[in-house]
Symmetry: C2
Subunit: 328 residues, 2 copies
């Protein structure tokens, strides 16, 4: 099934079930008013939501309405936890290569992951408001999963079954704030503001054979200002699968239902497939020419992130955002 | 007023108003079922909660019940954001001195702060479950504030009025996991598991003159295994006040109502007042004797954290926790 949240209904939006083709939706307040409520009681809610999804996909429903992406909040407008991995090592390797540094051996066995803000996710068509272009505005196209309750110290083998929903995320990054912030040693804070989620999150079964071994095996496509930017294969070069990322996050704490776990910027060894963020393109330019030639994003720039199935149909809908100046 | 949450009622508990002496409480479901609900609509809820508090403190109420600390969840059992500062520079200076490093000049003008887990806070009497004593189990006694909605890019002057509630926090730290985790460059994750909150959070007016200039001017007392461990003055040596910490967190994002902002381990230049965590005591031992003599916490150890007013009465109630082995 595919789930979304309308902006209407309050800070956590209103949960709706969306048909496979993303044309129509059905409100389900009698099952759960919000996606967080459904995840809090997933073993009860999931079969009920799935039954709605099956009738909607089979023959349509009289109570269905036409889906308008601009009326959508993020499927989880607020969440209690978001941890973002950096599982595609080609991305990490290029960052290091551009500054002449080695990748530590441990990076191939111990996932890189940071605690990210979860207090507000932007809707799929919400603009990204930034105070200044000098912050070095960048997108990062990633795959993200949502868990139910995960016990502390679970193994990766056990963690796989806790991935309940899958989607896309634009992990907005303020590149020029990163070096000083990381130099302080406490990780990202100001340099990683709110991210945006795809219009819908889907259950693993919606992905068929494209979801296997806790990895999503399809290209992740992004367009900058309407021009194709990259389409790296998310199924390649993912050093740690989502089960391993979930287990890493849960080593010393349980994960609350509705926790988001991100893949990190999707990147392949094969550079011809393009990148999933400007920083990576700029690093390739540095490696090749000594300095970057592509600027970071400016006000008015747009980013589109989408994943298509083997028939060319959109799976999660597209994230489409414009960068705008923040004015109080 | 003083607010708490009963464990009863679900994942977010049940909001109650507690009398000033922490003897009795009144349930307030007609105002808000949970503290998060109240914070989501604070301008409406706060005056209503305050009216209940005033009648409870003035003459008691027929609908009041006796307060049992063990029935309390954290006042915010789950929150959408927790950012923890490190505003007491003597703590930072000693960490650095113990390893022969300088404190960068920027640390005196730019707050240290990290994105922490907010998905679950332990109740004031909940045990701390840890997989292994080898993790280097430590407490950190801190002051924490809770904000209402804070606009992005607010000034510190504007931020002061967004501090709506104040409490104490035991920021549980797994010291032996920290060096490897920070060396990866992405901040704390596994080394900072769930923290515990004090029995109640209080509004600034409850603190009278002890709350001024966005700093709490009272000693923060901690006892390890029943023995006095430290009582540094929280009003001294706080390099950045809470208004400055809130503004730092909000530089590139709005803060959602119910965001927690921590002070970091309370520490004074005057070492005679003791410390607020074992790591700090061990650093003093390293500076004096070349190596630490006090071990980190073991299973069965207890920590008590409390703040008293000038009459010796408890303000927030005490955090009292035992370290226990985690068994699945």
């Amino acid at each position: 099934m595919k789930l979304a949240s309308l902006k209407a209904g309050g800070r956590d939006g209103s949960l709706v079930v969306v048909d496979r083709s993303l044309q129509s939706y059905v409100a389900v307040p009698e099952i759960a008013q919000t996606l967080q409520q459904a995840l809090d009681d997933w073993s009860r809610a999931a079969p009920l939501l799935n039954a709605v999804s099956e009738t909607l996909n089979a023959a349509g429903r009289d109570d269905a309405s036409r889906l308008d992406y601009t009326a959508l909040a993020a499927p989880l407008p607020r969440a209690f936890e978001f941890v973002d991995g950096s599982a595609y090592l080609p991305h990490v390797e290029r960052v290091r290569r551009a500054r002449g540094a080695e990748v530590p051996e441990s990076f191939y066995s111990d996932p890189l992951m940071y605690q990210a803000t979860s207090a507000g996710f932007l809707g799929p068509r919400d603009p990204v408001h930034v105070v200044s272009e000098d912050y070095g505005i960048d997108f990062e196209a990633e795959v993200v999963v949502v868990t139910d309750d995960v016990p502390m110290a679970i193994t990766a083998g056990e963690a796989a079954a806790h991935v309940q929903l899958i989607g896309l995320i634009n992990d907005v990054s303020l590149r020029n704030l990163i070096p000083a912030e990381l130099a302080k040693g406490f990780g990202f804070l100001q340099s990683k503001p709110r991210s945006a989620l795809s219009p819908v999150l889907v259950t693993p079964d919606e992905l068929g054979p494209a979801w296997r071994d806790s990895v999503l095996h399809l290209p992740l496509r992004s367009w900058l200002n309407g021009r194709r930017f990259g389409e790296p294969e998310a199924g390649l070069d993912m050093q740690f699968n989502f089960a391993e990322l979930v287990a890493h996050a849960a080593k010393t704490r349980p994960l609350t239902a509705g926790t988001l776990v991100g893949s990190g910027t999707v990147a392949n060894q094969d550079e011809s497939l393009g990148a999933s963020c400007l920083a990576e393109l700029r690093m390739l330019e540095i490696i090749e020419h000594g300095k970057p030639s592509t600027p970071f994003m400016s006000f008015g720039d747009t980013i589109r992130i989408e994943m298509l199935d083997h028939e060319g149909a959109t799976i999660f809908g597209a994230i489409e955002q414009e960068i705008r100046p923040y004015v109080r």
